[in-house]
Symmetry: C2
Subunit: 335 residues, 2 copies
């Protein structure tokens, strides 16, 4: 399969490394508005061609699919361009700055007969998957409460300076991941209530958010911020605890998964598969990126819908935008 | 000071032991509808007299104050009876089954010129107080998020069988404590949103509740249940974490208080003062009971208002009843 990658910035390095690790995929072309980034990626990941204009790449290359890793504001035009060329497309999260844009992108891809997947990688961490298997196996009974947090003092602004200028920050940038996880574990959401704070005075958006979600069955709490000074920073390793009618499970740091089932504790150590691909963000991120990209290849091979297809991701995005509406108006947002 | 105690059941044993430990207080009389409980308390704690009728005790004894440890439904009549006799009064939590009752009790005591304190003991644990001092000293900057939980598999129904029949369970019985703590740390609440679940099929009320509270400054999350099977049961030792603009603090099990301030971690070990008074619930409970009862004596001596006076506790109770209203109607409750 031949892939063309659009966007060769910070996080794209992980995508590119993962494509290199997936034997079935051939990195045909890379593209970035900043030509030197495209050239650097071409060299580093041995792509055949570098472009600084997406349409030129699409017109010149015989691609099977395109992988877009650009800032959210550019997603719609790039996805729609790719769909016009009849290519399947992966798009980074958050899919779009508005629900209207996101829905239009999903519709466009459907009409064009191309598959759209949002690159929601968090659920593809090995330990996250293992916890899901535990729940599916009935070990903890029926889950009634999930608590998940992502509290970090990691300087997200150094790698992605545009984040400091975003009026919508942590719910938009991180909430997409966290809400995908609560849906993964607890199923669909019927309503939610959110509160936000701006703690760091030097940015434009909210850097702390806490959301209480009502699922068809059960409750979840998502607490996230980019302003933490805590003993154990939660960047990448996402602490999670889920309680059920017959037990509970907890993901702790150092890839520890503790499961209490019928009053018996079992501890699992589930470190990420190390791909030695030099991700600056650590093994769990690289593992999840490789896994979701492998899933994508399998979906194309079997003509099946990706777990986090565009249509699926609309449900996650609604939780993001619903949270803003809830926090701004101090109301319960109903899905 | 001469105290008469009304109610000699399960939790009263802690009150009685604490009165015995406070030299300034003389345990004059004990009273319980079940005479054998009153007689047992008289013997165990060397009271002068045992009664099975509260008014008889009030008429016969020259008391300085009365300490009521009975089921909530009986609180109003007993507090009002005590006020009619012109005695200061301590009442166990929850103060009353309705806001109307609670307000009437506060008004009655005010008119009678007697002091009313609700026995909200949790905030009097040494480690809880130490954490508050850390916040007051500015170590973590301005707090923006408090997360507190109380998840237990402890069989609360064995010592207090009436709990299994209560249509209002964990928010009413435990939420009073937890909401007192969030007010203690984060100040007054302006609105809240709650979700409840009944997990145990053999009881009448909700045994799991999660509440997101909006404070004048900051947010708190209170998660409580009586149905947990977790690795470390949280009965008595209440995990708490608070994040601020310049650091964070966390109360962990084994009385560990970890404070991160300006990126420096300091760990404190704050075990409860051991009064060797044989509380079946452990040292932290006994410590907090002794501390609040000492506070009460000091308030009477200095003619000052107890921290958790009846009037103060109306604010906590409103969070309890507001949470039920929020959960039942899936709305934000505004204070």
């Amino acid at each position: 399969m031949k892939v063309g990658v659009i966007g060769c910035g910070f996080f794209a390095q992980n995508h590119l490394a993962a494509w290199q690790a997936i034997k079935e995929v051939n990195l045909v072309a890379v593209c970035d508005q900043q030509r030197q980034l495209a050239e650097a990626a071409k060299t580093r990941f041995r792509a055949h061609q570098a472009y600084n204009e997406a349409e030129e790449m699409l017109a010149n290359e015989d691609l099977d699919f395109v992988d877009i890793i650009t800032t959210p504001a550019s997603h719609r035009s790039l996805v729609e361009l790719t769909a016009r060329y009849g290519k399947h497309v992966i798009c980074q999260k958050p899919l779009a700055p508005t629900m209207k844009d996101a829905k239009a992108m999903v519709d466009t891809c459907k009409l064009a007969g191309v598959t759209l997947m949002v690159h929601e990688n968090f659920r593809w961490q090995g330990i996250i998957q293992k916890a899901k298997q535990m729940i599916n196996s009935g070990k903890i009974g029926d889950p009634f409460l999930a608590q998940i947090s992502f509290r970090t003092g990691y300087n997200v602004y150094s790698n992605q300076p545009y984040l400091a200028a975003d009026e919508r920050l942590v719910l938009y940038d991180m909430g997409t991941h966290i809400f995908d996880l609560v849906r993964f574990y607890m199923g669909e959401v019927s309503s939610l209530y959110a509160q936000t704070h701006q703690v760091n005075p030097d940015i434009q958006g909210e850097d702390a958010a806490t959301v209480l979600l009502r699922h068809m069955e059960g409750t979840s709490v998502a607490a996230m911020n980019y302003v933490s000074e805590v003993e154990h920073d939660e960047f990448i390793q996402i602490p999670l605890r889920i309680e059920g009618s017959r037990g509970s499970l907890e993901i702790r740091r150092d890839y520890q998964l503790n499961v209490v089932s019928n009053k018996q504790l079992t501890s699992y150590h589930v470190p990420p598969t190390n791909y030695s691909l030099g991700s600056s963000l650590g093994g769990a991120i690289m593992e999840s990126v490789v896994n979701i990209q492998r899933h994508w290849v399998e979906c194309l091979n079997t003509n099946s819908e990706p777990h986090t297809s565009g249509a699926d991701n609309l449900k996650t995005l609604e939780l993001v935008f619903g949270s803003y509406e809830s926090a701004e108006n101090n109301i319960v947002y109903h899905i």
